[in-house]
């Protein structure tokens, strides 16, 4: 795991159904400047996390990311500030809940 360079780091709120992977931890502080980096670093600490959240270049269908409470288009390339709060949630778009894979 890379040495944290940042003084402050983004916080990821782990969805309840994924807390098995984090031994019940809800809020994980983890380095990263993009969602991709954050997920990658999470996976280093809690193996399996990446597989649950990602496909090759994108979030898994059915999963959305909120950064500081704002719904983005769900791109793993979205940048995150050092004080960002990140939520992974069931995807909802266009008034539609995306079906699971």
């Amino acid at each position: 795991m890379p040495t944290p360079y940042f003084k402050k780091m983004p916080t990821v709120v782990i969805p309840p159904l994924m807390r098995k992977l984090t031994d019940g931890e809800e809020n994980i502080t983890i380095p990263g400047t993009t969602i991709r980096e954050v997920i990658s670093n999470l996976d280093d600490r809690y193996p399996g996390m990446k597989e649950r959240l990602c496909e090759e270049y994108r979030l898994k269908p059915g999963i959305a990311v909120y950064i500081n409470g704002l719904l983005t288009r769900g791109s793993i390339l979205d940048r995150v500030d050092t004080d960002a709060e990140i939520h992974f949630l069931p995807a909802i778009s266009g008034g539609v809940a995306a079906p699971p894979d």
Partner: protein, 751 residues
């Protein structure tokens, strides 16, 4: 953003730009498409709710005079079992294709099986009856709790329950499980002085747009496919058709005609790919229309659901914990709106300890589609009824208990994110001071109810292009189909930027070849996001116009300012020119000006509503009459208040219909027995009073003019508000929708 800013155009009520076309019958809707050589398509649908398709023989239909082509699922490209990213959400491609034309199984009565193109619609319809389909009829499962049983008939062998990326081993009708959790619910319930827990059941209901689905397709010899249709989003039609036909988007042009209502139901495609297949097969343009029965049986309603809500509060009314279990019917394929339901259910309140479980469950009914705040009305029926009961048991005014627990900026929602500036408290306070709430209501069997609702709204992509005309007007090109006056609410935002009257904007909704990508008219996003794009495009025009003024006056651009529709030089020369006059100098200052704006904004801002309703209950017949209705809503900023009121009134009335009479009624074989406007019983104007729409404006920080989406949240409060009013009238808690006369008679013990 300056909250006190006075606007010249925003907040006024100009005549809508497409108004004259629509009151003279000239506006062209999808079914109005006429062209030489046009063939007419009709779809054959499954008479069974659950059946294996053994064989389809189309030979008799093909031989029928006047028939030019017949298609079945065999004419679709082989669908891979993969996820298609449709921009508006990811969909399993096989499910998407199978819903267009059933391949191996028919999964609901009305499921499309084959289609015919013929020289007249009557011949096409007759020929459908000549298609011989052999079915092996299977047992259907029609109710969410039954479908969740381990011994229930399985719709799909391939579905295994997923929970945030984790997949179960055994096949099931439960497609997914989601959960939100905040704090420690067990501890929260221990702290409660009073706990109320109830079960709720809601029926399947339809959007009920008056215009049936339609599509006309033409396939040119060079491979270019053109589709004229009624849709909430031309680009999503293009994406879906491209995926289903496995055809490049660049060869598909979708021309959105005027749309006769959608409410979420005209996002998914049904007959558009079928029209394309028939057009390809026949080499002629083919128009496919649905009948009203096709619409009820073959398009997505919003789901029936089973909901359990438990809330605990202290004696002084503070909610200490809340728990919800939501099981939603997805219809034949996964994808119910249980996600939004789970997200919205407790969102009006700041509650420390919450757990919400949601289940997406397939049943033998049409695949559900979004319907105005999908999932939220079902959920609010449960939560707002339980809160009303807590308030009543504690002897606290129902609006006071809402104020006491109201979510505010900075409070955390159960699904995680923190609320930005929201206007919930303001809606409740407006309700408290409204004359409706203080009016006497003492008559026997008259009752008053209140309820609140939340919808999160969305942003998504929008593109706008502005072409500046020499006479000082602008042509505004957009990709959002106009279902309720959005041409005007978008045009007005551009007009405000440019200091010109709303009438000086000519807005056009154009095809997919003629404007940048624009997501659907849905999610209450159009005035917000496409309006935002229009704002940006107008800013682009403004910047360019400043350059032209600078050139005209031979000054630096930095020395030109623009205010109230007038450019002026602020340094050196004392020059002034109006936007209109500068437009006549475009040729000599550098040529035409085209401004563009594209956005994908994240700050849609949630919308809140609080409704008040008075009802009279006929104790002998169980019939509920709506006596008075007041709907209060935070619109952020009402661009065109008349159409904001219209959204509020229309949403409230759809909610009234849902609350009182609307439902799909099924027989044991899984056939809908009321698939007509006669027996589906949507409200007529004789069933309603005037709906007093009260607009509150708490500007949304995520939009330059403070706009919040307004279209969806008004359908959320009516269900519980009416249930609470019925309780007030007769002392009976209704927990099943619709609260139709026979259910009331049963609840009152009369039958």
């Amino acid at each position: 953003m300056d909250e006190k800013k006075e606007y010249k155009v925003i907040g006024t009520r100009p005549i809508r730009h497409d108004g004259v076309d629509k009151v003279t019958g000239r506006a062209l809707y999808g079914a109005d498409v006429q062209m030489a050589g046009l063939l007419h398509g009709r779809v054959l649908r499954s008479p069974h709710a659950h059946a294996r398709i053994i064989s389809i023989d189309t030979s008799r239909a093909e031989a029928y005079p006047g028939v030019k082509g017949v298609v079945t699922a065999a004419d679709l490209p082989e669908a891979e079992d993969r996820i298609a990213d449709l921009g508006e959400g990811a969909v399993n491609l096989k499910y998407l294709c199978d819903n267009i034309l059933a391949s191996d199984k028919a999964l609901y009565k009305g499921h499309a099986v084959a289609a015919v193109a013929a020289t007249s619609p009557h011949i096409a319809e007759e020929a459908c009856q000549l298609i011989d389909v052999e079915y092996e009829v299977l047992e259907p499962v029609l109710e969410v709790r039954q479908a969740m049983e381990s011994d229930a008939p399985l719709l799909h062998d391939s579905i295994r329950t997923t929970s945030m990326g984790e997949t179960a081993d055994e096949p099931s009708n439960v497609a997914s499980h989601i959960q939100h959790k905040l704090g420690d619910p067990d501890k929260g319930f221990e702290e409660a002085d009073i706990t109320v827990e109830r079960d709720f059941v809601t029926g399947t209901v339809h959007q009920g747009y008056i215009e049936p689905h339609n599509a006309t397709a033409q396939f040119n010899q060079d491979g270019h496919l053109t589709i004229w249709c009624s849709t909430q989003g031309a680009f999503t039609v293009r994406e879906q058709v491209a995926e289903i036909l496995q055809y490049p988007v660049s060869k598909i042009k979708v021309i959105p005609m005027e749309i006769g209502g959608g409410f979420g139901g005209k996002i998914s495609v049904y007959i558009k790919p079928v029209a394309a297949l028939l057009a390809k097969k026949t080499g002629k343009p083919v128009k496919v229309l649905m009948s009203r029965t096709d619409v009820f049986e073959g398009t997505g309603p919003t789901p029936a659901s089973y909901i359990r809500v438990k809330m605990g509060a202290t004696n002084d009314g503070k909610i200490t914990a809340a728990e919800a279990y939501l099981a939603f019917e997805a219809g034949a394929y996964p994808g119910s709106p249980v996600g939004p339901g789970a997200m919205c259910i407790f969102a009006p309140y700041s509650i420390e300890n919450v757990v919400i479980d949601g289940y997406d469950v397939v049943v033998n009914k049409p695949k559900t589609a979004p319907y105005r705040a999908p999932g939220a009305p079902n959920a609010a029926f449960g939560s707002e009824s339980v809160l009303d009961e807590i308030a009543e048991k504690l002897g606290i005014d129902p609006l006071e208990i809402r104020l006491l627990n109201a979510a505010k900026e900075g409070d955390r929602r159960a699904d995680g994110p923190v609320h930005p500036r929201i206007g919930f408290v303001e809606t409740v306070e407006a309700a408290k001071s409204h004359p409706h709430y203080t009016a006497p209501n003492g008559k026997k069997h008259h009752g008053r109810g209140v309820a609140s609702g939340y919808w999160f709204n969305i942003g998504l992509e929008s593109s706008v292009t502005i072409n500046v005309n020499a006479d000082g007007t602008i042509n505004l090109i957009e990709g959002s189909t106009d279902i309720g006056g959005t041409r005007s609410s978008i045009a007005m935002q551009a007009a405000e930027v440019l200091g010109i009257p709303a009438e000086s904007v000519n807005p056009s909704v154009v095809d997919t070849n003629s404007v940048g990508y624009t997501a659907v008219t849905g999610g209450s996003r159009t005035t917000y996001a496409t309006g935002y794009a229009a704002y940006e495009a107008a800013q682009d025009v403004k910047r360019q116009m400043i350059g032209r003024a600078a050139k005209l006056w031979e000054v630096e651009e930095a020395n030109v300012q623009f205010a109230d529709g007038v450019f002026s030089s602020i340094n050196g020369k004392e020059e002034e020119i109006s936007f209109r006059d500068l437009c006549s100098h475009l040729g000599q200052t550098g040529g035409p000006i085209v401004g563009s704006g594209t956005v994908n904004p994240g700050g849609a801002g949630g919308a809140y509503a609080t409704h008040l309703v008075d009802v009279a209950v006929d104790e002998e017949t169980g019939k509920v009459e709506i006596l008075r209705y007041t709907a209060i809503q935070d619109a952020g900023r009402a661009i065109h208040p008349s159409y904001v009121e219209g959204q509020i009134q229309g949403g409230a009335v759809q909610g009234i219909g849902w609350a009182l009479n609307e439902e799909y009624i099924y027989n044991d074989e899984g056939a809908m027995t009321n698939a007509s406007f006669l027996d589906y019983r949507m409200p007529t104007c004789l069933d309603l009073p005037m709906i007093d729409a009260v607009i509150i404006e708490v500007p949304n920080p995520g939009h330059p003019y403070g706009v919040r989406g307004v279209g969806e949240v008004p359908i959320v409060p009516p269900l519980p508000a009416i249930a609470n009013a019925i309780y007030d009238a007769i002392g009976v808690r209704m927990t099943e929708l619709p609260m139709s006369p026979d259910r009331l008679l049963k609840a009152m013990g009369k039958i």
